[in-house]
Point group: C2
Chain length 494, copies 2
Amino acid sequence: MGKEITSRLQDYAQWYNDLVIKSGLADYSAVRGCMVIKPYGYALWENMQATLDKMFKDTGHQNAYFPLFIPKSFLSREAAHVEGFAKECAVVTHYRLKSDPAGGGVIVDPEAALEEELIVRPTSETIIWNTYKNWIQSYRDLPILINQWANVVRWEMRTRLFLRTAEFLWQEGHTAHATAEEAMEEARRMLEVYTHFAESYMALPVIQGIKSPAERFAGAVETFCIEALMQDGKALQAGTSHFLGQNFAKAFDVQFLNKNNEQEYVWATSWGVSTRLIGALVMAHGDDDGLKLPPRLAPIQVVLIPVYKNDEQRAAIDARAREILQSLKQAGIRAQYDDADHVRPGWKYAEYELKGVPLRLSLGERELQQHQIEAVRRDTREKLSLPLDHVAEKVLRLLDDIQQQMFEQAKAYRDQHITPANSWEEFIHILDEQGGFVYAHWDGTEETEIRIKELSKATIRCIPLSPWPGDDGPGKCVLTGQPSARRVLFARAY
Amino acid sequence: MGKEITSRLQDYAQWYNDLVIKSGLADYSAVRGCMVIKPYGYALWENMQATLDKMFKDTGHQNAYFPLFIPKSFLSREAAHVEGFAKECAVVTHYRLKSDPAGGGVIVDPEAALEEELIVRPTSETIIWNTYKNWIQSYRDLPILINQWANVVRWEMRTRLFLRTAEFLWQEGHTAHATAEEAMEEARRMLEVYTHFAESYMALPVIQGIKSPAERFAGAVETFCIEALMQDGKALQAGTSHFLGQNFAKAFDVQFLNKNNEQEYVWATSWGVSTRLIGALVMAHGDDDGLKLPPRLAPIQVVLIPVYKNDEQRAAIDARAREILQSLKQAGIRAQYDDADHVRPGWKYAEYELKGVPLRLSLGERELQQHQIEAVRRDTREKLSLPLDHVAEKVLRLLDDIQQQMFEQAKAYRDQHITPANSWEEFIHILDEQGGFVYAHWDGTEETEIRIKELSKATIRCIPLSPWPGDDGPGKCVLTGQPSARRVLFARAY
């Protein structure tokens, strides 16, 4: 009964793939590194999009759309940017196919070569700043607060569904400001928006921090991030917000007349989250029976299943179930009634567990008699009997509680997995034995950062914005013994 | 005062471009044929998307997402399809850039050539049917009712903002069915959805019809379309819905076990509308002063402008205006208050006329005294005084009336521009002198269709689903004199 899922203990990576594919979130495609987001996965993404989009609009942003293609020469304009993105991109070189003279099929028409090759956008700073140049003359044209929902392509050699795919969906905010302070404020504001989204909607506790120079976005002056912890003890970067200084304004010559009537380069930010967050949801909450989706984002919050032994029972149960469904929907609950009769209730229970539906209700003859309904929480598997009076209110309270409990559980796990290390042996031991974040001193050099990565496969996830328990001010680097200003968070990461 | 707009009479094409660019809908980009959709244009698209998306979901469809790239060989699988799409596509041949050894900048890394080139999707039938193959085994897996919101690329040589761009945004529905009847019903259902959207939301009257074989979608058995008329007398295809028969199922070997336990090829439809509809909105309704947006889709339905002579007046007017704004918003009206004080009210009036805001309210000292507000309709320019009691209700009624009147006006124009022609001289005369649709007999051959296009630049827009005034059953072809089964609609078109 149900679909075979590899356990986390047996093979964590396979467990993840099983969950994603068998729950109907996504599928592999015929194109290397690209996935198909199936209706259930896309419905989840739509809920995430709608929530974030409202948050962006509430903070004054508007959506717009910029070209998919970037002229090759644009990438070279910002020195660090081209370093970071040129290595892995899809390049359009021709604009026509023709029939293969040697037989069936089509070939690239050699006469249709582009004068300048086009890059499928890996991120849109360059094409957007080239556009902003035409939109900005004076301080009156600022700020520009724009977000784009789009697909982007980064040619990854090793791909994993949602976590690392050649094409992915995301949003990218690109803002332009008259002062450094205002741009910095915007970068911090969006980090707060992402934090609120991760914690209150995804039930995913995150650590806010700053990236080390080596992990900084290619072209940024400062990269802020939120880092989350998965159940295998590996970290996952869940969102970034960049203060770009005047780097892109200088690269694309975007100046404005300030209030003192002087020409000045414009200040910039960019920030983004992607369908990768779906991978984070799966790995942070799922168990060996399937997904566990937080109620606020779950495409189906409640499934209602009728249980009957014969047609007579069925008619009465069905009638009552439809009333209940109606009252749940009227209360704004995303409820679904599954009255398919070619599979048994037990099969359905397993299926909706796999799909991570937060609450399952079932209505049988006994429940009908007793004027109640059976409820099973996906998070704790707790079974409850709910009286049918005001059932929608009770379900709403339960969903709130599930949302809260899922966050608390993930947070307890995360908090247990931030461990200070005071020697290199301890550092490696923690990584190998318990995983999670290691809170250790670092001498601040890129050389040491690279060496630590080579030796341990751990990277600096962030310099946390607020000190964590174990913080002890300045100290000595866990690898080199050189002076360190403060502890930073290391982890092996996705 | 205001921005210079070319008049329609002077240069219709330039008028169109002026409206699109100066109203802030879109802008040219640095990439040939690709445009930037600016926030105002994108907000309009978001309203169109939200409306259509709800209609799709109400008719049982779910959204999903398929890869941007299509392996080159997929295009060749369906013979007609490759004919139609291979000629104009962006081809990805490489996956890496590298530093130019000859100097600054980057070049395509010749060692990073793809084994098989990838096409940036011009439409997704092939990649989707290759995926459906894995999803469909038995009749229980059918129907599949999926829609995708996506960007697509068709390498057009002559491009125009919104109307014909290399990259555009659209939705594409792709459904799979167990029977031909069910697929045909779906294709007709979606044509009705598009018609309802065009007429009730865009205020754009359309003619439902069937495409002639030459104008059929590449790979379809039957293409249904809705055709609209622009103010220069040219037609514009506003949406298509295709009955694909078993063509793609055969090309990708998608069979299912039917209820009789027999293997059978799956039946298919596809249907789509695009950002081209924004171009249609501009050209169907705009005038020499700017856009006229139908209230149901307008990003700003009502703009409220304070008019004052001194600071004392200003304070009282501002306070009252904010109350009015509040009551409009509470009634669900997309209202905006423009209290900018560095431009005069007259400048604002012109600006919001250009932007096509359906209703402009202004509040001055006199209105304040008389407990009323001045309202000016964008469609008729009619000026009214609205008492401030229950002002939101009155505004809602006015918006409904504007929506209705815009449709009636466009319909009257369209109806006056469907003209029967009974001779070739008449045919040409009508096209040259008054434009619009010419309702004429055609002998049903592709040869004649092509000849008519060569001679007149007019194409068969559709064989209307219901006969139009002037229908006279069978007759003789307007060009060849050969027998004709019925009149069809010709026009010069976008």
